[in-house]
């Protein structure tokens, strides 16, 4: 059985698209406009052009640093459009074979230790995944992000010596998991390189940093390193490293089926 931290990170990983609200479609990428003249909506659309994809495979190395110990996990992740994703744990041995599948609004988890597939639905979607901080619901809201937040351009700041826009995203209603986000978006690469997530009370909950941005096919920029710090818990940090990342690959249709979950 996966423990709380493992699943927190798993949720964080699957929720990766949340860092950038997607547009109506990836084809809506903005025309190349001078950065300083872009509207906040154009900036968000440019981010989506980078972050939203038709298909993707990647290997992920996840390092969880806690107060007492540090653990490392490796997974293979498959993505198809905005709605479907699948992931399989490779290491450590205890988690090997654990799989997660998201198809549209439905989600399943397969635990090899009990040889059982469990559907995650109903009120469980709002529950933290096995005690984690991110809910299953978080992972199913990618297509609605643009409608969920009202963006405001707060200005420009330098992040790691590079110019970035500072954007505030305020949720349009209380059903959105994080009522407020602050994002710093690289002005040249159109990647959110830093993000802060806030609770309804205004308390800062998490800080995200993204880096090691690489250029992929078609000029797509994509971060291959992420660091998530829990601002409430002290000494808690998670690092994600993406390797062998490929976009636009043809994926076996079986991957996005329940049959795949229990395939040995």
């Amino acid at each position: 059985m996966m423990n709380r931290t493992t699943l927190t990170l798993l949720a964080a990983l699957l929720a990766t698209p949340l860092v950038a609200p997607p547009p109506a479609s990836a084809e809506d990428a903005p025309a190349a406009a001078p950065a300083e003249e872009m509207t906040v909506q154009q900036i968000l659309d440019a981010i989506d052009a980078n972050m939203v994809f038709e298909s993707r495979t990647t290997k992920i190395k996840m390092t969880v640093e806690g107060k007492k110990r540090t653990r490392t996990f490796e997974m293979i992740s498959y993505g198809r459009g905005k709605d479907d994703s699948a992931m399989e744990y490779v290491t450590p041995a205890r988690e090997k074979g654990t799989k997660m599948l998201k198809l549209g609004d439905d989600m399943w988890m397969y635990l090899p230790s009990v040889d059982r597939t469990q559907k995650i639905s109903g009120h469980m979607l709002r529950k933290g995944m096995m005690g984690s901080d991110l809910s299953y619901d978080d992972m199913m809201t990618t297509e609605q992000m643009a409608q969920m937040y009202t963006p405001t351009l707060l200005g420009s700041e330098d992040i790691d010596g590079r110019p970035a826009w500072k954007i505030e995203l305020v949720a349009n209603d209380e059903s959105v998991a994080y009522p407020k986000r602050l994002q710093w978006v690289d002005k040249e690469l159109f990647i959110p390189v830093q993000q802060e997530l806030f609770a309804l009370s205004g308390m800062k909950l998490k800080s995200w940093r993204m880096g090691k941005i690489k250029e992929f096919e078609g000029g797509r920029q994509f971060p291959t390193w992420m660091e998530i710090v829990d601002e409430v818990k002290s000494d808690s940090k998670t690092t994600l490293e993406f390797g062998e990342m490929t976009f636009g690959v043809e994926l076996e249709s079986e991957i996005f089926s329940q049959r795949w979950l229990e395939r040995k």
Binding site: K127, G128, D133, V176, Y178
Partner: protein
């Protein structure tokens, strides 16, 4: 009376043998009294934990509320309509509203995912007894007074009264909220469901934290808990299917049924001990009859009837049962009475809290149930067993011919 005196004297003639053969009866009666009292106490502990901790006599929850594990959604609530309020005022001795949810509580040292119980500080103690709480009322109230931590939770978080903790949870509509609150009190509740993973938060603070207008639970006390089934039926009609109803028996029957299995196992064990005791007594009386063959002959020659001899040996067996049973009953009753006054504190027993876990509303104190029937019934059984065991040797003795008996070597 003459026969009883004679029987008593005869028993004293072979004290050691009488003592040894009655040992099984002493132990059997003692074990039966203590075992039955303990099992009855455990059953009551389960029911006490449910009635005074989580469910009271009847609780209204949203329909399809999860029943297992630490799962307390707040997306569905119980609206206390004027009709429901009026019904509760008219049909219960007390009622209260609680909101249960799961949150992450973080201190400087540790972070735990635990149950939060939102309570009404005025009505909660009327429905859920706080008698076992180490720091009872008044509970914190309002939005600024802070929260009460159960002692085990405070220990795990490494905090004490006056420190601050951060509580993070999803609101009714789904947003993440987090607040820093002072620990206003630390108390042990005596309920395993709460003592190692629970925070008690005043309802006013819950309302602002979760943005809820209604609770998740409405619990009520009735004049008689045995009316809970009828009350559930009435509320089912009133709620028109919108509520999930649970009573004290729904929440405790699984554990009480396990108690019944234990009780049956104990009865089988004690039955075997009583059978062994019966054989020992039969053997003792049989030996006495053989040893006293000439004496029996003399008694018969002096005019004692067959029934007189029969009665003498039956009286000896019954007296053996009475004395042994009384010894066992006095010992068992004394221990049971002591444990009834001085409950066993499971929290103080290392490993017990972890064994029982946080999902069972189980009282941390086992008050062994002392009652007269639990003491008297084993005593009567022991006398009957001894009496029945004496029938065969007594008949054998009474059927001896006086002339043969007198001549016996």
């Amino acid at each position: 009376m003459y026969l009883l005196k004679l029987a008593f004297k005869n028993l004293l003639r072979a004290k050691r043998r009488a003592l040894l053969s009655s040992a099984a009866i002493v132990l059997g009666v003692f074990y039966l009294i203590v075992g039955q009292s303990f099992i009855a106490g455990v059953d009551e502990g389960v029911i006490y934990g449910v009635v005074h901790g989580t469910t009271s006599h009847v609780t209204i929850r949203p329909a399809d509320y999860p029943t297992e594990g630490m799962d307390h959604p707040v997306d569905e609530l119980v609206e206390i309509t004027p009709a429901l309020r009026s019904w509760l005022d008219d049909n219960t001795t007390a009622w209260t509203a609680r909101t249960m949810f799961v949150g992450t509580v973080t201190s400087d040292k540790e972070s735990l995912r635990i149950r939060v119980i939102g309570y009404d500080p005025d009505t909660d103690p009327e429905v859920f007894s706080h008698a076992t709480w180490t720091e009872p009322d008044p509970l914190p109230r309002g939005t600024d007074a802070g929260v009460m931590l159960t002692s085990g939770t405070a220990g795990l978080l490494g905090v004490e009264k006056g420190d601050s903790i951060v509580i993070e949870a999803r609101t009714h509509k789904g947003a993440v909220n987090a607040i820093s609150v002072p620990v206003a009190a630390v108390s042990r509740t005596g309920n395993f469901m709460f003592d190692n993973a629970a925070v008690f938060m005043p309802d006013a603070l819950v309302t602002s934290f979760l943005r809820t207008q209604h609770p998740t639970h409405v619990s009520m006390r009735l004049t008689n808990r045995d009316n809970s089934s009828a009350v559930k039926e009435e509320l089912t009609a009133l709620g028109a299917g919108a509520w999930g109803l649970i009573d004290w028996w729904d929440d405790s029957k699984d554990l009480v049924e396990i108690g019944q299995i234990r009780r049956n196992a104990l009865n089988v064990l004690v039955g075997i001990m009583m059978l062994m005791a019966a054989m020992a007594i039969a053997n003792t009386i049989l030996m006495a009859a053989h040893e006293r063959t000439r004496e029996i002959g003399t008694l018969r020659a002096m005019g004692m009837s067959k029934n007189g001899v029969l009665g003498l040996f039956l009286a000896e067996g019954s007296l053996l049962g009475l004395v042994a049973g009384t010894l066992g009953a006095v010992g068992g009753a004394a221990l049971t009475w002591y444990l009834a006054q001085n409950p066993i504190d499971l929290n103080a027993m290392e490993g017990q809290a972890e064994t029982i876990g946080n999902d069972v509303a189980y009282s941390a104190f086992i008050y062994v149930a002392f009652s007269v029937p639990i003491v008297v019934v084993p005593l009567v059984i022991s006398i009957l067993v001894a009496l029945v065991a004496s029938i065969y040797p007594a008949r054998l003795a009474s059927n001896m011919e006086p002339a043969d008996a007198v001549r016996a070597e």
